[in-house]
Amino acid sequence: MAGGVETVLDLKALAATVAGDRRAFEGLAGRHRPTMLRFARALVPSDAAAEEVVQEALLSAYTHAGSFRGEGSVRAWLLTITRRSASRWRRAEPAVESLDDVPLATLGIAAGWGAPEASPEHLAALAEQADLLGRALARLPEGDRLVLTLRDVEGLSGEEVAEVLDLGLAATKTRVHRARLRLMAELRAAGGVHAGP
């Protein structure tokens, strides 16, 4: 696990929280709330619902600060709590299964692999438009959107993503790769190049 300054700060804040320091928890919450909100927003259908989910998650984290075992990052722990809070809100587990029955080659072709007319420069230019990228991400199946949000937008490690989504590491890495290919296919479709599976 990475031992950056942020990690040390988080661990100190959590320890202080357990000791009764509420301000320490407020600092911790302030640092991670934006990430928790973005993740929650990928799980529930509205900004208001995401706020509600994160509110509950933070309350749960504060109440159960002593339950953090230190096996992963505090960030991953908070996002796991957020996922469970979202599950309670939805009364269902989020669908983390991507389309695993689609052959990888099929996903690759849809993403532009081996397509003589596909231009990497064109795809990169499409991705530079944040609104197009955001819409392409929103069009993905929920499982793909979740893994990409955590891994590539929020920058969690593969191990952290696996922990938050309660998946095996190898399965997580496979899903991330397949989700990226799906995103590329969505961008190609947005750019007028259609080669779906």
């Binding site: 993403a111 990497p120 991705a127 990226r180 995103l183």
Partner: protein
């Protein structure tokens, strides 16, 4: 499925596609990474696709906030600050 699934630098194009994610995440051992790079250097289509893959990934990683909040919610004047 693909007429151009050929072997370059000891790696078939399909194999390169399979491990492209690990390559982009710098998770490959050095010798495997070198093999992927040699394949990309010798296979025009895989090089183009690999470039596109890395390019999209790079844009995604830079676009925090802009990607996930393409339309900021309207401000609610009645919203109160929250407590943990």
């Amino acid at each position: 499925m693909l007429a151009h699934d050929r072997e370059v630098a000891g790696l078939r194009c399909m194999q390169a596609l399979e491990i492209l994610g690990a390559y982009a995440d710098d998770e490959l051992p050095p010798d495997r990474r070198a093999q992927v790079e040699a394949h990309l250097a010798g296979c025009d289509w895989c090089e183009r696709f690999g470039g596109a893959y890395l390019g999209v990934l790079g844009r995604l990683r830079l676009a925090v906030g802009a990607v996930v909040d393409p339309e900021p919610p309207p401000r609610d004047p009645s919203a109160s600050s929250d407590d943990p």
